[in-house]
Symmetry: C2
Subunit: 255 residues, 2 copies
């Protein structure tokens, strides 16, 4: 990796970009993953590359709904695994839920590569965690290789999922966009917590709770909130989307 | 290529994405090119994937300044060649100026690949053009392989350019962002016409005339304006940037 000085104002964005470039070389990402990442960079730039107040509320609501769920699951794709895989495992350990690899352009190679990547992040986390956390971390199942479940309403390989993960879940945390899948999960009566930097996307507009924030900041935020015993409240998701657009519009004052 | 139905509202954006994915496979693009393209997609999405009124004014001003220049040049990188190489050659033919390949991450392989790509676009254009246009088209020089010029103010390989192109130019049309280079060119007293979808970028804020529009729409727009004998006027570039941000902010009414 090229060295980026600590003083660089956009250091974390540039580090994320390097992670993506390297993961692409390792074959973990779909062809269009880098383009999706670039879209995220643009929206995040307009947000000022920070978690807005409104996104913080969505992060707390997400933490509360995950704790309150009967069968929560965290659905991970290539980009979210590369950018925030460790945070996903931390959340799963605290909430006591599985992590499921579920990708749009499904190939055996990428599925097994991403499952291996998450297993290896879990091992490193286990090695560096205090003794009292080890049991919870080692209890996190990484699902995805066995496709014994279906997402009704989707066609072909995209309908595949794990019976113990997304199929039986009542609350699905889905970092990053896939409008069709989000709609299908909502149609099945599940709650969807989406993390999507584009407040106008179909995912953002369809999800139960939308966190308009960069995925690693959002998942770190959920980890922090989980320790505070948050309670789910009434939730106005449209307000969150309007707030995000307003923050982006206010980027103009930086000129 | 996957078939995208004509009725798809985002057809041209999806076609551009496919072009980029294919060009990446052919080695024409830098690692981060797809990320840059994604950023462009996001800003364009907020613009409504259309040329705004304010961008139209910038397009006309660009056409006027190219016609008015003593030594104009069109500087092309990987993304702009892939997305709008043919339009660049059309402009060069009408204005009577060279096209120069000039890239941020310079390798011999990519330089020669992009020059070949532009030469081949020139050949196809020549083959399909009416007889009266053939001389102008075949007169377009594709520069870049001979680095006998320097951009003072830049270091290392990025300072290389063609003596007959960017070095001697008084007006440089630069599709797509490179903040350092834009600043260096302006510091040398040149006029820079930038095409950049991010109105907050250093390039956008530094350029003489900024066209906040998708590169192929912008270059097609310049081709159209060139036939109308436009005259350069007084130019408030900050206003264009404010207008672009306002258009993006108005995206919120689409929710």
């Amino acid at each position: 990796m090229t060295e980026i000085p600590d003083s660089h104002p956009r250091k974390s964005s540039l580090l994320s970009r390097q992670k993506m470039v390297e993961a692409a070389k390792r074959g973990l990402l779909a062809d269009s993953a880098m383009i999706a990442h670039g879209r995220g960079e643009a929206y995040d730039y307009l947000l000022g590359e920070r978690t807005t107040e409104s996104a913080s509320l969505a992060i707390r609501e997400a933490a509360a709904r995950l704790l309150d769920a009967d069968s929560p699951v965290i659905s991970m794709n290539g980009n979210s695994t590369v950018l925030a895989g460790e945070e996903a495992i931390k959340i799963a350990a605290i909430v006591g839920c599985p992590v499921e690899v579920n990708i749009y352009y499904r190939t055996d190679e990428r599925m097994s590569g991403l499952v291996r990547e998450l297993e290896s992040l879990k091992e490193s986390l286990l090695a560096t965690s205090p003794p009292e956390n080890k049991e919870a971390i080692s209890g996190v199942d990484i699902l995805g290789m066995v496709s014994d479940g279906r997402i009704r309403g989707l066609e072909g390989p995209r309908s595949l999922c794990s019976a113990q993960g997304i199929e039986k879940a009542d609350v699905v945390l889905v970092p990053l966009e896939d409008g069709d899948r989000c709609e299908a999960l909502i149609a099945l009566g599940k709650e969807v917590i989406a993390i999507d930097l584009n407040p106008l996307s179909r995912t953002s507009r369809t999800a139960t709770v939308t966190i308009v924030d960069e995925v690693s900041r959002a998942l770190r935020g959920i980890v922090d909130e989980l320790s505070g015993e948050p309670e789910p409240g009434p939730w106005d998701n449209e307000q969150v989307l309007r707030d995000a657009l307003e923050s982006m519009a206010n980027a103009s004052i930086r000129i």
